[in-house]
């Protein structure tokens, strides 16, 4: 979706605000929501792509106004209700409903290493052939899906060159909506800065994006 999160190329966002000796978390609650978010994913009710999409679905004004971890608080509170782990009444009251069942945590201190080290699915699956070859010229398709996509607006319709085949990955546009993994090749595609931005860019510079087969067409 063409949301506020798709920031590449937007202008007038101000200078980069740098903080010297920045702590990992600025307050204890940031660490707690970080850890809660990771631990709750172990229930596998949603996946990483759905997690990313949940942030994209926030109203744009909220997305831009909130701090990074504040967005995470809103996301997790919404997800546990949406996916049926907690009722709306329980979220509002902060108490489990009387007589409700008690689960056994999926993600424990003993099993956490296994979860944290678990790989993002990918493979060199030879049964899924690549659609494109190294050094082939390709065009990023001009798509404007209303759901999740990892093809940023700024690259759509632009032409680049395949410089690396990363192997096979799940397709986020379908996986985020639980509509199948649609495993396919992901490539590093090199776009010249001038092809993306015109004369304001330096003719030497380039931007590389990692793009799935379904985002590309021969150029």
């Amino acid at each position: 979706m063409n949301g506020a999160h798709d920031m590449g190329g937007q202008q007038d966002m101000g200078p980069v605000e740098y903080e010297k000796n920045e702590p990992v978390f600025h307050a204890p609650w940031e660490g707690r929501i970080y850890a809660l978010t990771r631990a709750m994913r172990a229930w596998a009710r949603w996946n990483l792509d759905a997690d990313r999409h949940a942030l994209e679905l926030m109203p744009p004004a909220d997305y831009l106004r909130m701090s990074y971890y504040e967005r995470w608080v809103h996301r997790l509170a919404a997800q546990v209700v949406e996916y049926g782990l907690v009722s709306k009444e329980e979220i509002d009251s902060g108490k489990a409903a009387p007589g409700s069942s008690k689960a056994t945590p999926m993600f424990t201190a003993a099993t956490s290493a296994g979860w944290v080290n678990r790989s993002i699915p990918s493979s060199q699956d030879p049964t899924i052939p690549p659609s494109f070859k190294l050094r082939q010229r390709v065009r990023a398709r001009n798509i404007n899906p209303t759901g999740h996509t990892r093809l940023p607006r700024y690259a759509r319709g632009k032409t680049g060159v395949i410089v690396r085949d990363h192997g096979v990955y799940l397709f986020p546009d379908s996986n985020a909506h639980f509509q199948g993994e649609k495993r396919q090749h992901v490539y590093s595609v090199r776009f010249t800065a001038t092809d993306l931005w015109g004369d304001v860019a330096s003719p030497r510079d380039s931007v590389h994006l990692d793009l799935w087969d379904d985002y590309l067409e021969p150029a």
Partner: protein
């Protein structure tokens, strides 16, 4: 009192909401508080840019290691004992006299956790995410780095599950330094590509 970085929502409200959410999820048996503590401890104390700095320093002193790092970064990084989520598909991109690499995630906040830890606020912020792809040289100037026109700025937008670590150039005048001394020179910012690695006397952030 916690610092209110954005001056928009009282941090105490957020602290209370997270506390309430956590106690509910614990009460329902959905999370284990000890596991949360372990996750936070890992991010605060075990992973972070010191890991990446050791990888870079090793690559500077050991050409065979550098070759392995550029060919298969996850395996080479694991040789130093660093493995954990979000780094399975790390790629190392090398700076040189004619190429300067810069890493961004325009769509969210993708970052190579095992070698750099969690990203700083500026990396996740709208100003950096919006401008790194359209005006990378402007971003670099804000960080104090003015690159000649004949150097290619190569931006890596982390749109998939690949995670990028910049291998900075080893500064001149470090020929006699040990691997450990070299690692101490390597900053998080240099491994994202917004600055170069400098000698201590000349290192200064804007």
């Amino acid at each position: 009192m916690e610092e209110d970085r954005d001056h928009k929502v009282l941090p105490s409200d957020l602290a209370l909401r997270v506390k309430s959410l956590e106690s509910l999820l614990v009460e329902k048996g959905l999370v284990d508080p000890a596991a949360l503590d372990a996750l936070i401890d890992t991010m605060e104390h075990k992973v972070g840019p010191r890991n990446g700095a050791r990888v870079v320093a090793r690559a500077w002193v050991d050409p065979a290691y550098k070759k392995r790092l550029l060919e298969n970064a996850p395996a080479a990084i694991a040789e130093l004992g660093y493995t954990s989520g979000q780094g399975e598909h790390t790629l190392v991109v090398e700076n040189g006299p004619t190429v300067h690499n810069l890493v961004v995630c325009t769509l969210c906040s993708c970052y190579p956790w095992p070698v750099l830890g969690l990203p700083p606020v500026w990396y996740k912020s709208a100003p950096y995410r919006s401008r790194a792809v359209i005006d990378p040289r402007g971003i670099l100037r804000e960080f104090g780095l003015q690159l000649p026109e004949d150097v290619e700025v190569r931006v890596w937008d982390s749109t998939a599950e690949l995670r990028y670590l910049v291998l900075p150039e080893r500064p001149a005048g470090t020929g006699t330094m040990t691997e450990e001394q070299l690692a101490a020179l390597v900053t998080r910012d240099a491994m994202v590509g917004v600055v170069k690695v400098a000698l201590p006397a000349s290192r200064d952030h804007p």
